[in-house]
Subunit: 159 residues, 2 copies
């Protein structure tokens, strides 16, 4: 399976690394990882056998999760780059939360295939970024999504 | 915890009961259950400890899953009622798939509290229903969502 080499989630601060979708420290989570591929962002994930809608097809909530964390990760990558940094250069990246999530299920998504989310990131405000995503199963675009990601307020983390 | 007594998912055909979100036969799934409360539909779910965004707050992908299955379940309840049936009367209800899903995260959602999704269902075409949902943590509305649910094509199930 194709793999993201330098993922932004590998550099998140520890406190921000327990996300069920993309936290490297969440033992039960999906461990979604997002990196650059040219000017696009990518996240690759093969859903587990239990992530079924009806047998043979992937559950929409897992695809929504993929688009969600791909969105916040992509926004983090983009703002990090704007600030002069890339994943792997040992600078803590900005952490985003999801303001809104839109998912359009274009075709049934087959199980047993890695899914590749490919995103375009656009700044709409210094603290608010839009990530437009297409999810591919093989050559076929099966789902389209959009996330509005917002820089996480410092007050979000509980002391 | 408040509980839905008569859930539409209890009556889904076996083939349609392996959904990760709402299938009673998916051993690893969330087992979401949706029923009537007056003219509204409700689904009640307390996320697991691992369903965290950052510690103390619920992961958005799980909330999206709640809204997703609450949406298809609500549409099934409504079309079933239109056809003269209620959950529990031993008639197989119609099964819906999600055409699109919109989630607006209004406030951080606290962990350790049951979440209650409350939906309004509207027919926009005999095979296409809109479900507008608000998710409450206690008294507070934390998330708003909308699902366009479509009657599952018969060809969807693999032989």
């Amino acid at each position: 399976m194709e793999k993201v080499k330098q993922a932004i989630q590998d550099d998140y601060a520890e406190d921000y690394s327990y996300c069920y979708g993309c936290g490297r420290l969440n033992q039960d989570g999906l461990h979604l990882r997002t990196g650059w591929e040219g000017e696009h962002t990518v996240t690759i994930y093969e859903p587990r056998p239990e992530h079924t809608a009806i047998p043979g097809f992937v559950y929409g909530g897992v695809i929504a999760s993929l688009i969600d964390c791909h969105g916040t990760g992509s926004a983090s990558l983009a703002l990090h780059r704007k600030n002069g940094h890339e994943p792997g250069d040992r600078v803590e990246p900005p952490r985003f939360v999801t303001g809104s999530l839109q998912v359009n299920f274009l075709k049934p998504t087959p199980q047993g295939v890695p899914l590749k989310a490919i995103g375009k990131v656009e700044e709409i405000h210094p603290k608010k970024w839009r990530v437009v995503t297409e999810v591919f199963a093989g050559e076929e675009c099966v789902v389209a999504g959009e996330v509005i990601a917002v820089v996480m307020p410092k007050t979000f983390v509980q002391e």
